[in-house]
């Protein structure tokens, strides 16, 4: 029974494909998968917006949206209708074609990333050998869309927001790649399905997820930091810092184009959480061998939603960074740690099984983290702010 539930979507697709002539089946099968992804993730986006607003409200001891529908759950529908009925304003001096294309390019490139994510056992749209590479190629193109939006708006806030976004995304792209490379070093494959399979075995009922290794844990933390920056989420939401840039690169967007940017941002969050889950959290595999009867896709999506919850939690906690702090953090702290983590991963690989590699690898990472941290903190002189003139 649980086998059937686990494969329900795959079987459903096969059943539907049987009605079609054999020549059409591959194309229609892919199209069906695309439709499923294009319907599912925006629906998840709609739910997440209301949960985010409610979660943030609770963090600030408020109630949050509770007027539209039961517990405010229909709020995204009201928001959607509102953004659809709003006037679509294109500035007179804007480059109309690029201005129109930017949100479309953003959403399309973000959606492309979902193509290679394994969302359950046998549930991947395109099982590419170089899935990870494809994912990062698509993830990097979102920067283009952001810059298109900022440039074509012909607005200083938009342009500054776009410049910040590009600087930030390129900086953290390096970290994102380097922290993921450790996983590739371990599994010897760029295929995301193979990466999940490499983690999907258990000893004493416990999974072999990469996060439970020293290099995996460090890699995951750095991946999470880079992912937050890559999706322009708080505390790295400088590109849309409303206190200084109105709304950043989408200042000049209104109505449904603005909604598309919003959608793109959340979809990027889902896809990068999905990739993090795949790389470090065992993808669709269950956290305990005894829990394997729960369908694999349910595990994937619950891990994804947990990551989203952490995103929201961080947004409710942390203030926005300054541009120089952001850059210093990426290039002077996270990047060296990433490079060190590559060494540690290599060490782990060649020390073979045994307790020695656990001790050695953990010790190197902890010492490096503590040392660099102390060094940073000593130079920073962190404490209450002192005002030189305004006392």
């Amino acid at each position: 029974m649980h086998e059937y539930l686990d494969q329900i979507f795959v079987l459903l697709q096969h059943r539907l494909m049987d009605y079609l002539p054999a020549a059409w089946q591959p194309l229609c099968g892919v199209l069906l998968g695309v439709v499923a992804i294009v319907c599912l993730f925006p629906a998840l986006f709609a739910l997440t917006t209301v949960f985010e607003r409610k979660g943030l409200a609770r963090i600030q001891n408020r109630i949050g949206p509770n007027r539209v529908g039961p517990f405010g759950l229909l709020q995204p529908i009201a928001d959607g209708i509102k953004s659809l009925t709003k006037e679509d304003i294109v500035p007179l001096s804007a480059d109309a074609a690029v201005h129109f294309l930017a949100p479309v390019v953003l959403v399309v490139t973000v959606f492309m990333g979902f193509a290679v994510l394994p969302m359950g056992r046998n549930m991947v749209l395109v099982d590419m050998d170089a899935g990870l590479l494809f994912y990062f190629a698509m993830g990097a193109s979102t920067e283009l869309a952001v810059f298109m939006a900022g440039w074509s708006s012909r607005n200083k806030y938009s342009l500054m927001g776009a410049m910040r976004a590009v600087a930030q995304m390129i900086s953290y792209e390096v970290v994102l790649l380097l922290s993921s490379v450790t996983v590739v070093m371990m599994t010897g494959s760029l295929s995301l399905t193979k990466i999940v399979e490499a983690q999907n075995h258990y000893s004493w009922g416990l999974p072999h997820w990469f996060i439970f290794t020293p290099w995996g844990c460090a890699g995951f933390v750095m991946y999470a930091i880079a992912a937050t920056a890559e999706t322009n989420r708080s505390p790295f939401d400088l590109p849309e810092g409303e206190s200084e840039l109105v709304a950043g690169y989408h200042t000049e967007y209104s109505g449904f184009k603005f909604a598309l940017f919003f959608l793109g941002e959340y979809l990027a969050m889902f896809s990068i959480s999905g990739l993090g889950t795949t790389l470090f959290l065992g993808g669709w595999s269950a956290p305990l061998a005894s829990l394997n009867w729960i369908p694999s896709w349910l595990w994937f999506f619950s891990k994804l939603m947990m990551s989203i919850f952490v995103f929201i939690w961080m947004r409710g906690t942390l203030p926005r960074l300054r541009q120089d702090q952001l850059m210093n953090f990426a290039w002077k702290f996270v990047l060296p740690m990433c490079l060190l983590n590559l060494m540690v991963a290599a060490l782990w690989r060649f020390l073979g099984d045994g307790w020695l590699r656990w001790v050695l690898c953990s010790a190197i990472l902890v010492v490096a983290y503590a040392g660099m941290g102390l060094n940073e903190l000593r130079r920073k002189q962190i404490g209450p702010r002192r005002y030189r003139y305004a006392e």
Binding site: I59, N61, I63, N66, T317, L318, A370
Partner: protein, 237 residues
Amino acid sequence: MLGEGILKGMAETAKNFFGSYFSAERLTTVEYPEERIASYEAARVFPFLIFDSKNTADPADWEAGMRCVACQICEKECPPKCIYIDKSKDKKPDAVGKAQFYPSRFDIDISVCMSCQICVEVCPFEAIKMDTVYELSTDDRFGGLLLDRKQLAKSNEYYHRIHPTEAAEVDDRLSEGRAKTDAKMTAGAIAAAIRGAEVPAAAKATPKPVAEGAVADVVADAAAVTKTAERPTGAGN
């Protein structure tokens, strides 16, 4: 240790997140249209006109019991000039039966009113007081926000309901003034002697909860007492 502050902060927000589901004092939101906080006694929004319903034949007859005698002091003192008064040509008996002028028009434009309460402080007849009604939204932003005599007139009982302490003080002051007037009328005493006796009475009537209004109150009270004192001579002529 680096990152310690972030963990502390996240613990704090987690405490807030879960705490708001369990502890009522964390979640202070009052969901307004369904539930509301009881009005404070010191609350004041816009002015209204008081009418006394006790002495008139029909308790609901706001026009007969109106305390306002159209002296137009409030109109002149109003800083944003939102009060419009037309004084009547004829005189009508007021709440205590004296023939008085009355406002043939008394409008307050609450879109202009800044709720400063100066009209209340200058009124010698305790005729204008501050209301606590705040749900005044209307779909007609000109006519709907220009309140006329009928809309402004509210009974003394209503005043007692919204500001009990203040209303009791006002009633004491008014009855004291009336008692003095009556005493003067029956005894037919010398005007100078009455005036001499009333100065301490005016000083005694000053205590009031609103501190910044105290000075204006003294003036208003003194005016009220002297007015009530002068009334019989005016009526007698």
